[in-house]
Symmetry: D3
Subunit: 327 residues, 6 copies
Amino acid sequence: MDRNGGGGSDPADVQGQAKDAAFRPRFMEVPTFLRLPLAETAAGLDIALSGIPFDLGVTNRPGTRHGPRQVRDLSSLQRTRHPTMNVEPEAQCRLADLGDVKINPFSIEDSVARIQAFYDAVRGHGARPLTVGGDHLTTLPVLRALKPDAPMGLIQFDAHCDTGGPYMGQPLHHGATFKLAVEEGLLDPKRCVQIGIRGSLSEAGQWRFSYDSGMTVVPIEAYFDRGWRDVIQEARAVVGDGPVYVSFDVDGLDPIYTPGTGTPEPGGLPMHEAQRMIRALQGLDVVGADVVEVSPPFDPTGNTAMVAGTILFELLCIMADRLNPAP
Amino acid sequence: MDRNGGGGSDPADVQGQAKDAAFRPRFMEVPTFLRLPLAETAAGLDIALSGIPFDLGVTNRPGTRHGPRQVRDLSSLQRTRHPTMNVEPEAQCRLADLGDVKINPFSIEDSVARIQAFYDAVRGHGARPLTVGGDHLTTLPVLRALKPDAPMGLIQFDAHCDTGGPYMGQPLHHGATFKLAVEEGLLDPKRCVQIGIRGSLSEAGQWRFSYDSGMTVVPIEAYFDRGWRDVIQEARAVVGDGPVYVSFDVDGLDPIYTPGTGTPEPGGLPMHEAQRMIRALQGLDVVGADVVEVSPPFDPTGNTAMVAGTILFELLCIMADRLNPAP
Amino acid sequence: MDRNGGGGSDPADVQGQAKDAAFRPRFMEVPTFLRLPLAETAAGLDIALSGIPFDLGVTNRPGTRHGPRQVRDLSSLQRTRHPTMNVEPEAQCRLADLGDVKINPFSIEDSVARIQAFYDAVRGHGARPLTVGGDHLTTLPVLRALKPDAPMGLIQFDAHCDTGGPYMGQPLHHGATFKLAVEEGLLDPKRCVQIGIRGSLSEAGQWRFSYDSGMTVVPIEAYFDRGWRDVIQEARAVVGDGPVYVSFDVDGLDPIYTPGTGTPEPGGLPMHEAQRMIRALQGLDVVGADVVEVSPPFDPTGNTAMVAGTILFELLCIMADRLNPAP
Amino acid sequence: MDRNGGGGSDPADVQGQAKDAAFRPRFMEVPTFLRLPLAETAAGLDIALSGIPFDLGVTNRPGTRHGPRQVRDLSSLQRTRHPTMNVEPEAQCRLADLGDVKINPFSIEDSVARIQAFYDAVRGHGARPLTVGGDHLTTLPVLRALKPDAPMGLIQFDAHCDTGGPYMGQPLHHGATFKLAVEEGLLDPKRCVQIGIRGSLSEAGQWRFSYDSGMTVVPIEAYFDRGWRDVIQEARAVVGDGPVYVSFDVDGLDPIYTPGTGTPEPGGLPMHEAQRMIRALQGLDVVGADVVEVSPPFDPTGNTAMVAGTILFELLCIMADRLNPAP
Amino acid sequence: MDRNGGGGSDPADVQGQAKDAAFRPRFMEVPTFLRLPLAETAAGLDIALSGIPFDLGVTNRPGTRHGPRQVRDLSSLQRTRHPTMNVEPEAQCRLADLGDVKINPFSIEDSVARIQAFYDAVRGHGARPLTVGGDHLTTLPVLRALKPDAPMGLIQFDAHCDTGGPYMGQPLHHGATFKLAVEEGLLDPKRCVQIGIRGSLSEAGQWRFSYDSGMTVVPIEAYFDRGWRDVIQEARAVVGDGPVYVSFDVDGLDPIYTPGTGTPEPGGLPMHEAQRMIRALQGLDVVGADVVEVSPPFDPTGNTAMVAGTILFELLCIMADRLNPAP
Amino acid sequence: MDRNGGGGSDPADVQGQAKDAAFRPRFMEVPTFLRLPLAETAAGLDIALSGIPFDLGVTNRPGTRHGPRQVRDLSSLQRTRHPTMNVEPEAQCRLADLGDVKINPFSIEDSVARIQAFYDAVRGHGARPLTVGGDHLTTLPVLRALKPDAPMGLIQFDAHCDTGGPYMGQPLHHGATFKLAVEEGLLDPKRCVQIGIRGSLSEAGQWRFSYDSGMTVVPIEAYFDRGWRDVIQEARAVVGDGPVYVSFDVDGLDPIYTPGTGTPEPGGLPMHEAQRMIRALQGLDVVGADVVEVSPPFDPTGNTAMVAGTILFELLCIMADRLNPAP
């Protein structure tokens, strides 16, 4: 199937323009992430995009199971070339949308296993995963599937550290992902940075694990006091040259950008600075990335998904350019 | 690509249930019409579904260019088997979603040509077209592509006859489709029925062509006075046994069902009766059908597209069952 | 100012079509009720349309102060000729939109006085008033301004009788209008009909005045049991040949049609039957009419105002046709 | 705490009107179901209202966990006395809102146990439960808690029979409630009626259990053909004089009334007829009732919850009047 | 009634976790401000929260009568401990939600009297008031009830000075509050600061009183030029050590944060800086505070109320910590 | 017609306050831009406001044809005097709203001709045009009508340079306006500044014309790095003292302010800085200005139009003050 994303042999193309993206109106076609082709497996791909329609890990508002679809729809607004970096992902890498992981809507544990199996296959083909969630628990099985030789680094944009303990006896939930990942040896806390942390707490030690384990936590107040350049420079220093995973929880942004999310926290990151920070990661060995916590039912305007689609493209650009830099 | 619509080899399916629709959550996957497989051409298909993202034919509110995408999304709520008729389209016919016609967003004339070319190809493969619009002008090039040996019959659900003359000098617009189709010999007015007509008029003779040419017009007042059974019985009598096209303009329904449309007219058809009327067409030689005038920007709830997806399934059932009746 | 509603000398009209309503796109221009011309006074008019942006009379949800503006906007969807009656108001009568009554947002009493003064002027010019509210209290000063020689008849479409006593010591509120009008000798209760009454009650005798005074009350249950034809036939019999006022509270309809209102009551009148009932009043001596209780903030879709605009046109048609019947 | 629902000793009441519901604006106060007093236990109550904020049983769209809160808010629009029956629940019975069952957001099984324990306590106090869901699975533990001496009767308003088998291996889900209840001996299928059934099916035998077990199924087509009076008369005949549970799934209504639900099916019950049918149950021994499947995130207008609040009041009236008939 | 807010004795709590806030899902229960317990009077409280559902003081868009309810609902998203200050209000002070003042929906004057009487009672119990409005006029009777020995200081976040004269003859409206409060000797203008002032003016001297009386006015332009730290430092210097009232009008923020308000003015305060400024008031003798002008009908998303709930928690933290500082 | 905008002789004005804008509630009246009087022609005007309800030039989402109406409605929130500059447009200049250009909804070319003819007439009367679009193509015929003696300067706030070539063979579209204007000699590229440019690109050279022709392009990254003061200072230097046109595309702002637009690009200009930049243009010879790309169907809240109304007032202030400076 060609890059036109499944629209068929296009009998209506009477002007020979089928190969020119500029002549394909953005509102048409079955929507895929960033209008990439669909693929059945990751075979032959450099970067594999996929969705995880899952929300059983949430503690409050559900709805992220509907996230991947809407991000596919709104990511059509992205064009093919980065505005400031000399990067054009499709020209530099082999990319496709693999569709969604088939989760089990009645079981956290089974769903986590299914997610890991899906990404095991992706890794088996040698592709790097770029994911649209789903709640933040979905990052855990992706990290597991990456089976790093050594604990990886992490750059996390988020309002919450997500390093809490069990909730009502459940260890697997969207507020515990990164504690579990560290404990499982998937992440090296000394190479983890969490940016944008804020919001009232249920107890004084809610995010103690982040601090105690040696993660670098950048509360939103420090973020604004220091400025984005200083913060992301420190982040690069912390993660160093090794493999790093980038996880973008849309609630890291202020809810004016992404109201469609389960645990919004007013007073968050500005979008234009988030974009600048991602670009500043150019050159890092980003082995995987995700955009999570888009809950469409809480934003009927679709703006949250539009913003998530923009972040998705920014992440894709740094991943693609590292794999095969533009000349 | 199998019926799962592009979701890949599904490495996460650990229970061997991939073939069972019941185990594929409806909120997942790249959305296609009724969760049918995508296909590049109509080769080998009995019925080919496609979208026409077009709104240049409207005289008032635009937005139907965004219709096919949202109907794809919301038609996921349809399951595979009809509730009252012994019909299961996918079991009886070969079906697929061909994607969208690539229209020209700057030209009515070129778009109409592209639509016809697309459907010429569909007909070339021997498939019957089932379309999601797009404004009602899109029906004209589909009828042209059907190239009937003799003028066809028509059953049209609509608030407006759409048999007007040029508007501001433009003969091709969504209020003129069926006048043009009759004049071009595509439709036999004696075998045309228009159901649900209502709404204030710009002039006394606005829909005169329908009456003068011999179409059977059922104004909404007569509809309610007579009841749906009597009306659809007459419709069947009028169209007879020959080939017939069924065109469902969502503004035929009351806007409480389908507010997302360009020219809503309060006081329209009830949804449950529209469903009954379509079912009453079982057995007719429906050579093509469409659902048109879904304009998502005017209904952020998506309910209009959900209703359109339901109508789409009803239409598919009668088309499929005629081609290959269930045992 | 000509019928084009203030659009200026229209230098862009290069085809000489300025007089043809069909060539004036409905989405353009400063919106007036039904795209009628604006006028500064009612001098020379047969029927004067105006708005009363008032909501101080409500007991629950406010917002009807924003009603007239949105009804102006959405009434643009009405064309000039009735679909089933041989009526074209602008061809039969002199009509204009007088703008809004300037109410006092801090005083019920002063606003009621201002409304009456406005309509005194309208009546002074011999024009009949057709009003868009505003809450239902606004009908009272209009009735006062009509200064009938004898108590008038009333046909009221409503979920509530609005014949209650003072509320928190305030006699002037939207639930007391018609009790006050009867007590003031403006209405003859024997010639009053209230159609669509329903909803839970604060006390057993909440609407006792209607019954005790001799009004004909048609609860929604009786309405559905008898059918619209029987009900409106009785209504015509009750009001007889004398002057009658028609008051249409949009909460008489089911809230599926008009969710943007202050006291919605599920289980109400169907829109298409409301239209039929108004048409059945053709020939009555309707000396004034109104559509009230449109509260836009409670319906961001604008559908409530669209429905109200349709009702407004139906009312105008029967008023205009009585004054100067079509040949 | 008095009937004013927690507003305190009301130092602002300077006119001695605290006891008069008419003087308590409906938009104020902490919202409780129907503005009833809060209570900590069901001790001393005839009928206990409560909410079950649960949505883990859904197969598609989540969000019913947010249902009870919004129904509390919008049920403020209900007044105290029934419009057509001589019933005033608070005058006839002791009523209170017990708040919500504390569910476990990570476990279907634990939540079902918690729900049953809550209702065991309610029954222990001799009160009859009236519940706002929550998805339809929540009805199962309520039925269990009722511990009927003999299988009970059921009147169910719904688009789906909810008598399916396990889904992805999970026997406890919102489409299986009534099969399980019959199998557990809680319901007598010969005394069960399901009204409004419709919608496409996943397989021919999806609701076979209903038919095979002897339930009376009234598909929507039969419903419209026969009329509400005939249907509810049959329902009364089927359930007879014994104890009966009434379960109202808001998706039984057409989605124009209740778009905020997880599995909407166009072409459903009209609201005014649903009200008439509930009233026709007056005198039945209704030992418990519920309104379920309100999912606020899918209806930002709140209309779904408003309709549910109206149904809640109708149900309360028949329950209260049976327990202590008005003189 | 315990901290669980009215949910009863919780028979469903089968794990003994009733005292642990972490185990009480935030979407459940009758909503109170910040999930605090309800109380009938302020007896024994340090800080009393209450709502004033009032909007008769507005000059343009109404709807703030619906504010307290929605802020109760959305303030559930707040947890119990401040993210950056060592403050946990419930651990440091006795707090409760007193419900709403029972206003008179037909009279500004009577409502103002009722509000004052309510707060007189609060003060009689020695509690400090923390209020959710209502329009900004509601601050006046609260200030009156505080009956300060000497005129108090004021820190006001707002787009408008609200120091205007009568409007249409009405001295009591939401644009005149602080002029009246100064004239009544309740506030010392030399100790008043108004931050965020902007927006077009009706006349050059619209806010002259602020300047002439000696208030410190910080227009938004100066605010952005100087930065939040400098501005709030000056504010602290201006108000000094004496008693001060903090009034937060949500229109002080940019409408991207709080679109649900009556007189939005684009170009306003950023939320994260507003939070920092409130925190910088730690230690001040804040004798009362409020969050006003939340109008839910103009923001169906609820984001305005979510932001207001966050501000409410920030205000509570500084009030509680001053009364009983954390160790 | 006096300044009250068509409300008639105002018989209800019983207090002689008709001339005082403060006493005219902002929610009333037929809405005109900024509540200015309507006029049929530009005769005698200094500045003529008008709308262009046009969206045929868009490449993606339509809907700007509905822009002028909603901006009229929401611009009612603007008062008469600027908050920081000593400017009161109505006191300094003769102003009116001319209504809308009557476009041809089926033809780009004819519409462009009609727009130019309309503005030719405006210029014929010596008035300066201030326009509300419409998509950005509408600026081209306005520039043509200005018939400058020498190429003009341009200050453009926008996410896109709009200097592209033909799209699908159509040279006239909203992404090509300024290339065409330069090529036609209407603009001097050396005196053109484009501020806020961003967003992914379809090809590397998409906006090459801007750079090659000598326009000053300020990408959003440079904008944030340099600060608004530096940028607008450079802009003034670039345009110099000669005639300049100011074009404000609302997608230049971040979509949090203006989601109702066709090609939103996250990460844009802050509103308060846009206001400061416009004010910094005081004294420039602004011969015309516009606010374009407001698409109401994509923002049901109306906030986009409210922001556009605010920008409209800012633009009017600098235009009016240059023509007749305040004393």
